[in-house]
Amino acid sequence: MDLIYAFLEQIGASSSYLARWDVALALFVGSVGGVLIGAIPGVGPAVAIAILLPATFSMDPIVGLTVLLGIYGSSMYGGSIPAILINTPGTAVNALTTYDGYPMTTRGEARRALSLAYSSSFFGGVFSVICLIFFAPVLAKIAPMFGSREIFLAALLGLILVVTAHHKHTLIAAAMACFGIWLNTIGLHTASFSKRYTYDQSWLSGGVNLIVVVLGLFALSQAFTLLQGDDEKVRLTKIKGSFFQGFRELARHPRIAGVSASLGVLMGMIPGVGEFTAQFMSYTYAQKSSKRPEDFGHGSSEGLIAAETANNAVPGAAMIPLLALGIPGEALTAMMLSVFYVHNVIPGPQLFQNDMDFVVALYLALLVLNVLVVMFLLIATNQLIKVVKIPNRFLGVCILILSFVGVYSLRNSFTDCILAAAFGIFGFVMKRLQLPVVPIVLGMVLGGIMEVKLRSAMARVKTPLDFIDRPIAAILFVMIVLVLILHFRRVWLDHSKRKANEWSTSHASTSFPAILSRRRNFILTERGKKVRGKRKTFSRRSTDKR
């Protein structure tokens, strides 16, 4: 009874943060803006958050974070609209929604698919927030157990997970994470007052600003990609009727919704894992446990529920490592971390101990946000789907104009803009080659955390084993070792599989052009040398002119 009373008291205290006109406005702008941004394929929450970041620096921390959290949390709702209607995911995490959403549209069930996506997303979002509110006291007890070495190990684990999550691009992802670590070291090293990689340039002494890099890699590169590409012709389906039927249908699948939301919360809590893993795990679970697994990928309502519930349960959970330890698990939370630092609110164990009201207020904001978004979507979907028709190249112009606000308002520096443009070109190249850019941002953020924490942790460590003599440090170390073992095992299995496939398909008939090519090369090189050698001996005689 005391626990419930304390809980209600906590909610009451935190509500005072939200009962302000500017927070209410931020909630509205964040939710509607996020849905709109999510619904436009080619923009995405990363671009929007990167552009808005400097604008939020002048706001109160709760207001600025609510706007960004709103965009983060609601963009996935909006992203499901083009995924279902035109088979193009609005945000990257809605890719799985197209598997079952679009086939439903093709058989004339667009309204059912959309309403199911909204209700599943709503359930996932609310479930994660409720979990977090109940977890908060536990987190407040665990968080102080994290000292320097635990935070270092958690950051290292996050970085390793981010790298290993990029299956088939692990090596280049690791190189990019190291690039981020190096970028973070540029400038004055405050502990020794020595310059690092400044090449005696005054503009480099202050270091490379994270926001400049983020704006270049996410916003400008996206603008360049859109400007360079072509417009796509979009044919929309008209939708009539209400969207409430999805809630009734969702209620018929409580097991899938519950498991998917739980997986979303779990995966969201682990830094570096995020939406994709949560989605694929819950989708696989739903398919394996379904009575009709053959329907998956062909318009299965269970598949749609699994995908949408899991991805919307992640944003709330992703705030856990950020708030409790100050460790962002992905690019969006890494951007949000800079808002905390600008306002001198340092996320970590102290935040949970000293400012619990602020933390719970953020969770409550996320809860209200989900309600606002679903209400907005139930009313305005028919009008909202028209944003899908905005031409891609014109969107590029819009992003370029908005990026200026983001970069230039930061320090009014032309050098920052040149740097952002350079990172924009770099990001564009990476996008064209389908290489990951997120490890760069996380390398920058986590590299900075790791540098500071390792220095302070090593002051009390005499032997290497001292580093993991505390229970949480030992658990984190075991997790790192496990992740690495599992990764190398997967790499080895993939390699064996590839080799087996190569051997099983190497028929003479299928590699006929290759045989011809090798034959030609042989004739031109090895055999050619012999022939020319013979001719040389003969020609010597024949050159004697009489």
């Binding site: 604008a55 190189a175 190291c178 200026f404 009014n412 924009g424 190249v429 020319r532």
Partner: protein, 229 residues
């Protein structure tokens, strides 16, 4: 990317080799300068050294990019006929690289010469394994400089002409450049420009300084324009 995979299953993916080589060259240049650009302090623990984390970053960049470069599917380019047929050329080329590596090692010492030797090897390999698809891809990368130029020109002119006038000029000009020539799109771009300036500068008051041109306005209007546009 998929077009090259389907058309040439045994060909390296377009631009991948070139990107890996360029990134590796940059990483090796950074590694070569680590001694000059960072300090090693006496009587300080390894983890507190100012050089430690840059070394982790640059070392990781070199190691992982080299491994990535190594595992990329590669196919040697078709050399000109005279190169393929002339044994002396292949001998001379191999000897030249070996001589360059050896003399560098003797001059700088093996450890300091390693990045330069790596650099030479990367340039050689990049030349050997890049194809016409990579060169075509590289041209596409270069074409983006035009959009970056538009952006930087916009940034450079805002402090002179002002945020509102420059945005009202820039949006329709770029819209025209990318091919939307009808009036409706141009007016939409003007409307969007106005909306952005009003929201960010007039309402949210983000830090964008007043323009030099505003100095010529009458004093009553000047401060209003500097504050809001």
């Amino acid at each position: 990317m998929s077009d090259e995979i389907s058309e040439h299953p045994d060909r390296p993916l377009r631009g991948q080799i070139l990107f890996a080589a360029l990134f590796l060259i940059c990483a090796l240049v950074l590694l070569a300068g680590i001694e000059e650009q960072t300090k090693w302090l006496r009587k300080k623990a390894l983890f507190s050294q100012p050089r430690f984390w840059p070394a982790v970053g640059v070392g990781g960049m070199v190691l992982f990019t080299a491994l990535h470069f190594w595992q990329l599917p590669k196919k040697p380019r078709t050399l000109p006929r005279w190169m393929r047929e002339a044994d002396w050329f292949q001998w001379a080329e191999s000897l030249f690289w070996a001589f360059a590596a050896l003399s560098l090692s003797l001059w700088l010492g093996p450890l300091r010469a390693a990045p330069y030797v790596g650099l030479i090897a990367t340039v050689r390999l990049a030349w050997l394994f890049t194809h016409w698809v990579d060169r075509r891809e590289f041209k596409i990368w270069l074409s983006v400089f035009e959009w970056a130029g538009w952006f930087l020109a916009y940034v450079a002119l805002v402090p002179i002409l002002g945020y509102l006038p420059m945005t009202l000029l820039f949006a329709p000009m770029l819209t025209w450049r990318i091919g939307y020539r009808d009036r409706l799109m141009l007016w939409i771009s003007v409307g969007f420009a106005l909306f952005v300036v009003l929201v960010f500068k007039s309402f949210l008051q983000v830090k964008i300084p007043g323009a030099a041109i505003y100095e010529y306005l009458p004093s009553a209007l000047r401060s209003f324009f500097i504050l809001n546009f």
